[in-house]
């Protein structure tokens, strides 16, 4: 069992937790992920690591409530325990030797993009950050991004905060103006990462994407997380989760990510109903 040391509500659907897992904290690096189970009968879900405190022995996760498991997790409070917490899994994001990077985060993906931007900043890299959200209420980690970025763009779909438009708007503007980067690192919804890759491709700027497909064990055993990269089948859990975005077959990845959409919706509704009953 793993204790929840801290819980912070970042916005109505996104929560940050620090989980006591000293061995995982000791090894965790940006870009790696963990797998957790909330309770004894729960499913295993992967979540990317959003930071760690080695001295406190805690690992930070940030999650959006999208299904039954994240709903159950969100009902846990400081001092409560979760059943299983395993990691760090996957290969860390490559950050060494980069001088000028554009980090593009979308929605809850910003939770993973932020520690990467921080790490790059620590290593002396010039960081440009572009973050995008659906609206003002969903914005997270703005101050953290600002602190480690030399340039910062806030975008919202409806224009309720920052500039109106998606993350590709400022990116395209910079690229068209002749701006170059050693690398673009993008984390967010598949459709957003696909369009960021389409934007950088003509300029031949290496673009790293962080894939978060459906997986069961996270150690290479099930192959459920496989995706096509440069015509080859790769396992996100052991070969990734970072890949060269220009080589990823996003359409296939999007299709695979919807494999259990109907089941998950149903499970989420059932879970919500259970919690509602408890309240009544």
């Amino acid at each position: 069992m793993y204790r929840i040391a801290k819980k912070r509500i970042l916005n109505p659907t996104v929560t940050e937790m620090e989980i006591e897992a000293p061995l995982v904290a000791r090894k965790a690096q940006p870009g790696q992920f963990i797998i957790l189970r909330v309770d004894a009968d729960g499913e295993r879900i992967p979540l990317t690591i959003a930071g760690q405190d080695v001295d406190a022995g805690t690992v930070k996760i940030i999650f959006q409530v999208v299904g039954a498991t994240t709903e159950k997790l969100n009902h846990k409070n400081e001092g409560d325990f979760i059943q299983d917490f395993v990691g760090p899994l996957g290969t860390p994001t490559h950050v060494e030797g980069l001088k000028k990077v554009c980090v593009v985060g979308g929605g809850v993906g910003c939770a993973i993009a932020m520690p990467i931007a921080q790490k790059l900043h620590e290593l002396g890299c010039e960081v440009t950050s572009i973050v995008g959200f659906r609206n003002k209420d969903l914005v997270i980690l703005e101050d953290e991004f600002k602190a480690c970025s030399s340039r910062f763009f806030m975008m919202t779909d409806d224009g309720s905060y920052g500039e109106q438009g998606n993350v590709c708007v400022p990116l395209n503007k910079m690229l068209e103006a002749g701006e170059t980067f050693d690398q673009v690192i993008t984390i967010g919804p598949l459709i957003m990462m696909k369009f960021v890759c389409l934007a950088t491709k003509p300029y031949d700027i290496k673009t790293i994407v962080s894939m978060n497909p459906i997986m069961v064990d996270g150690t290479g055993m099930c192959g459920g997380c496989r995706l096509t990269v440069g015509g080859e089948t790769k396992f996100a859990c052991v070969d990734g989760p970072d890949f060269d975005g220009h080589l990823v077959d996003f359409d296939e990845a999007m299709s695979r990510s919807r494999a259990y959409a109907a089941f998950e919706r149903h499970q989420h509704e059932e879970t919500c109903n259970l919690f509602k009953k408890e309240v009544q």
Binding site: L23, D41, E43, D84, V216, G220, M221, C222, R256
Partner: protein, 474 residues
């Protein structure tokens, strides 16, 4: 020594009581129900007590087979258990999953004319009898010898190695990557063939001996072999062969294509077969399992139980060449699994939908195969399957499960530069299981590639003896 009992001259084995095929293919309870005491005694009396004991040579761990059978014939079931227990640590498991027809029973003299003695069924009976009657406090905790050993992986190799070392007084810690101990015994082999309560009993037995089990520990990531070496005098790696292979044919990444590992893990470990499970598994009508091993049979029979109407085994050689245990093939046939032998998939077709928002977009709709015929024997001695040109045909399919074997997990190799491995990632180890690193031993599928429970168990035993010798002589 001639038997004390009057030999039962019946040419066939005492039949195994089993659930009716049309009942069991809709539930997940155990298929074979086990012998009664009377059946076991009668079957035991078929053993001739041959002086040369060919059956013992056929057993990878050399169980004293005629001796334990003689005790069964006399009704001394606990004594029979103690004899098996000298050589095997998991008899309740092996009695159920060993390929006896190519091991002990394959060598049995009764098999020359008629059926061999049902050694596997007797082993299972004896183990179940013991588990039912032995009391928990009969376990004597050995005197600690003060030496610490780490075991990586809690499958058959790791459990056996840990058990043998614990009995000698070692302080053993097992590190398991998943949330539950048992390895392939819990994620791979279905409940209807190996009830999980039996595996749990084995794990609990080890804990009673003082073995510590640390779950959620992916060695290579959270701790490396180097770091374990700082804390333990010796390490045994039994990390198995967990990496599934695919065919690299068009359509293999469509939704509805599973590795057998994923399909079985969802159903077994994550309990997707239970109605209230939180882990989803696809509900399908037509499903093809590609491959002919035990894992393929397990996947096919699981799919049938989950409600699939037509379940096909697609295998490129013939019925005779199926590598699965004979009993599994028979059970699968009885349960209505359709065997498409001498067929090999060439592509998987997608649903004819172009709008990505359509739920059917990117899902499996068909499987195209080519017919095969058997040519000259290949290096393995089996006749090589060759394609019959122009014989492609397509079947409606909404799920395809790839059961083509597995490769060793690469995580330990990747983070242990000094560990020498072979081409496919198998860890190099000598007869005793010693790897290229002093004090580090390995065994089971991690060394051999995908093989059987009993071979992994045998490797765990050998390594335990070698580790004991290494530490005592240090």
């Amino acid at each position: 020594m001639p038997p004390k009992y009057k030999i039962n001259l019946d040419l066939v084995k005492c039949p195994m009581p089993a659930q009716d095929p049309n009942v069991r293919n809709k539930n997940f309870q155990e298929v074979a129900l086990g012998y009664t005491a009377e059946m076991a005694v009668e079957e035991a009396k078929r053993c001739l007590q041959c002086p040369k004991k060919p059956c013992v040579d056929g057993c990878p761990v050399n169980i004293h087979i005629p001796e334990f059978i003689a005790e069964v014939a006399e009704g001394n079931f606990e004594a029979a258990y103690q004899i098996i227990n000298q050589s095997s640590s998991l008899p309740a498991v092996c009695g159920r999953v060993c390929p006896q027809e190519s091991q002990c029973e394959g060598k049995c003299n009764r098999g020359i004319k008629g059926e061999p003695v049902a050694i596997g069924r007797l082993e299972r009976f004896v183990a179940d009898y013991h588990n039912e009657h032995a009391s928990a406090d009969s376990v004597k905790r050995p005197t600690p010898n003060g030496h610490k050993v780490a075991v990586v992986g809690s499958g058959p190799a790791g459990l056996t190695c840990a058990g043998d070392l614990a009995k000698l007084g070692y302080d053993v810690t097992i590190y398991e990557a998943l949330h539950l101990a048992g390895g392939v015994l819990v994620y791979g082999i279905p409940e209807f063939r190996l009830p999980k309560a039996i595996v749990q009993k084995e794990v609990d037995g080890l804990k009673a001996l003082g073995v510590k089990v640390e779950t959620n520990m992916v060695i290579g990531r959270v701790l490396t072999i180097e770091e374990l070496k700082e804390q333990y005098e010796a390490i045994f790696i039994g990390s198995g062969a967990g990496l599934p292979r695919f065919m690299n044919i068009p359509g293999e990444n469509l939704r509805g294509v599973y590795s057998a590992n994923e399909f079985l893990t969802r159903s077994n470990l994550m309990k997707a077969y239970l109605p209230d499970s939180t882990t989803p598994i696809q509900q399908v009508k037509n499903v093809a399992i590609v491959g002919g091993g035990n894992v393929a049979m397990d996947a096919a029979r699981t799919a049938k139980r989950l409600g699939a109407e037509n379940v096909y085994i697609v295998y490129r050689r013939g019925m005779e060449e199926l590598p699965a245990r004979k009993e599994e093939v028979e059970h699968a046939e009885e349960e209505g699994i359709i065997f498409k032998t001498l067929c090999n998939p060439v592509s998987i077709g997608a649903a004819d939908v172009t709008d990505p928002r359509d739920p059917a977009y990117g899902t499996v709709a068909s499987l195209t195969c080519i017919r095969m015929e058997l040519g000259e024997p290949d290096a393995s001695g089996r006749r090589r399957p060759v394609e019959v040109p122009g014989s492609e045909f397509t079947m409606d399919m909404d799920c395809v499960i790839m059961s083509l074997g597995t490769s060793p997990n690469p995580l330990i190799k990747q983070t242990t530069p000094d560990l020498v491995t072979k081409r496919r990632g198998e860890i190099e180890a000598d007869e005793d299981g010693l790897t290229s690193i002093e004090g580090v031993y390995a065994g089971g599928d991690a060394v051999t590639g995908a093989a059987t429970v009993i071979l992994a168990m045998g490797a765990g035993k050998k390594a335990a003896a070698a580790i004991d010798k290494y530490i005592q002589e240090k």
